[in-house]
Amino acid sequence: MTETPIHDGRLAAPLLEMRSVNAHYGAVHALRDVNLSIYEGELVCLLGGNASGKSTTLKTLLGMLKPTSGEVVLDGEVVNDKPTSYRVARGVTMVPENRRLFKRLSVRENLDLGAYLRSDADGIAADLERVFELFPRVRERLSQKAGTLSGGEQQMVAMGRALMAKPRVLLMDEPSMGLAPALVQQNFELIQQIHEAGLTVFMVEQNANMALSIANRGWVLQTGRVVLDDTAANLLAHPDLRASYLGQSDT
């Protein structure tokens, strides 16, 4: 049922992949036979309502939750038993939902913590410059406590913090959550911008319209099961999706 990925076979193996993964929270079966593959250079999204397993998918990808069966594959290596730090060091980085900065630390300290696992001082300095280039306002706020920034600025710092880890794939947990509509627009433009600069992005969203407007492909998750897997354009046109997520029915 998979349409040809945008990458039409140039890269044989996906960068990050879930192979029929099942995951449980205690007795609750949170993910059921989930198959996902994210190829290098893609911008893909995972859609789903509340409690559909979106965040669980992210946790499993990042290693904060162990799958009960199935495989998480990073760059051809099965990383089921590898800790989060191992995956972060190999380029999997998350921007948590609601940004979740270290509110009482300064912006500078937040950015430094993004680069926690790196020891290449030159590379870190260069990436810091890159973050400043992307978000000039962050530079002005360096010594300020992160919690006092406005929502939009916090989003910039959260993205900057993730970029400081030198990611190969950026996992974004609900980038539109808790932001004013104008900021959501701005935020998605930012994501697109980062993606165009060459970064692979995997985002998890409830706002299907917005997410699909910039994504190449997407999946729809329902009670832990992938129910749709298609290109963004097809998904946008899909009647079920329109009915349940976009709040429009075809009349």
Binding site: M64, R100, D112
Partner: protein
Amino acid sequence: MTATVAPETAANAPMPARPALAQDWRRLVRMGAVGAVAQIFIALSNMPVRLDERLVVKPILSLGYLCLLIVPFAAGHRVGHQIEREGVPQHTAGAHEVAGGAACGAIAGGGLSLLAVLLANFDLREPLVNWSPMLAELLAFGHTTGFAVVVWLLIGTAVGAAGGGLRLLGPRSQRAAVTMVLTVAGAAVLEPLVVDLAEGMGLEALSDRLYHRRGGVNWTSALVLAAVSGILAVLGRGRMRQAREHIAALEGAKRTRTNLGLIAATAALLVILPLFAGKLTNELAANVGLFVLLALGLNIVVGLAGILDLGYVAFFAVGSYTAAVLTAATSPRIHPELPWLVALIIVVVVTGLVGLFIGAPVIRMRGDYLAIVTLGFGEIIRLIFLSDWLSGWFGGAQGITKIPGAGIFGLTSVAGTDPRRVFYLVLAFCAIAIYVSWRLERSRLGRAWMAVREDETVAEAMGINTVNVKLLAFVVGAVLGSFSGAIFSAKVGSVFPNSFLILVSIVILVVVIFGGMGSIVGVIAGSAVLIGVLGGPKQPGLLAEFSEFKLLIYGALLIWMMLARPEGLIPSVRRSRELHQQEMAQDAWLKGQVEDDNGSDNGNGNNNDGRQAAAAT
């Protein structure tokens, strides 16, 4: 506390004083009633009777009366407080404040009048053990009950009026008045210390003049002290602040040099002063130092890593016992009788391991659960030392006695009989602990600790191994605490399980919170004030008479601190930023660029931060 006065911008011009009788009576009566209850409570806690022997100003004022009089004064001052509101002008202080203070003080004083009457007519010694004739006599100044009733009403009125009247003074005079009172009070509190030092330096003449033979500042000297300090306060107004700001504004190398100079001066003072100080001072300083070590250790665990450890005494105990078992000839079963320094290395290893063992299960919990489990482990360690089963190793309830002093390279031996040497030993270890804390706070590990404290889940997502990092905080804290333990056992010469009660954990935690979580200077100041002045778990402080009421006062101080200054006595720059930034941002926004002369105590850098934040919104 001095009252804050609104900046007098054009939009905020002061309103004329209110008439004396236009009081908010409901608020006034409520304040007075709280004061009255507080007075009765203090009287029935027996503080006045016990503290009556300690004179503050001879022959006028004893600590006993002082702890009663402070209540109507505070109530009288507080009742005149006006809330600062944006765009709402403040009334100038006048007869209104004095009258309000007087009325409020009268109600508070009336509490004691009521108590005097009750004491004379009822006998409630069964439930209220301090319901004694002594108390009645003290309240009546040796006269009749009728006299007591009238006098306490009058005293309450006068003191309350004085408290309200403080608001009439301008900020400058207020500062001078506060300085004068604090100087005299400080001289009275520090009496044993000053006398001791004066003797050591051959300045007995001075201390004899200052203090009465039987204790207390002479009233003539009190006047002189007050006058001198008042003048200095007026002359030196803002100088300290200027100097601080000047240092804060220095750049890079210059600033480092100034800081190093300050540190060197402090260190020199700490090395030289004990030479002139007698046993009492050195003993006290050593006790304070032992708690500085403990508090610095706990500060890493609680202040930096955010792990609320209520059983920290465990590491103090393990350090003490390990050192005792290894060095004492009398320790049952094992007696290698190692030199102290060699034993110390083993102490560090053992405590580190115990830290790992306790930490490993504990660290996986969060919040309240973690606190409760650490509380349990603190007790378990003590009970292990107390147990009959292991009495062959640790001596059970009899503990281990005749522990030799700490020998340093066979040069000297440091034992409790020579408090000066103990102090130097403690000082050396404090220096190490301060340096370690300071470096750790600025390290990658320190940043990881703070990230875990802020948001453990996100910290994990950043690739921080939260379990290892927290465990490391536990172990580092444990090792610092064990230093204190090893010195403690050498100093006291014996260890008993009862030296390591839960109370010790709580006192250390109070020191850290009171001083300022995460702040090295704050932790040192907290130890000096709480342990040095009020006294530690089993040692008297400068106010030895207080030791009975120590915990009561700890509690009261802690509550006051949480309400008035949640960041602690000397907050870390970061922490005060954390707690006050929002407020300051708002203030800065209200005041625009008006320079805030009144000085919130938060330092300049923070104000700037606040302004930036305000500018952002």
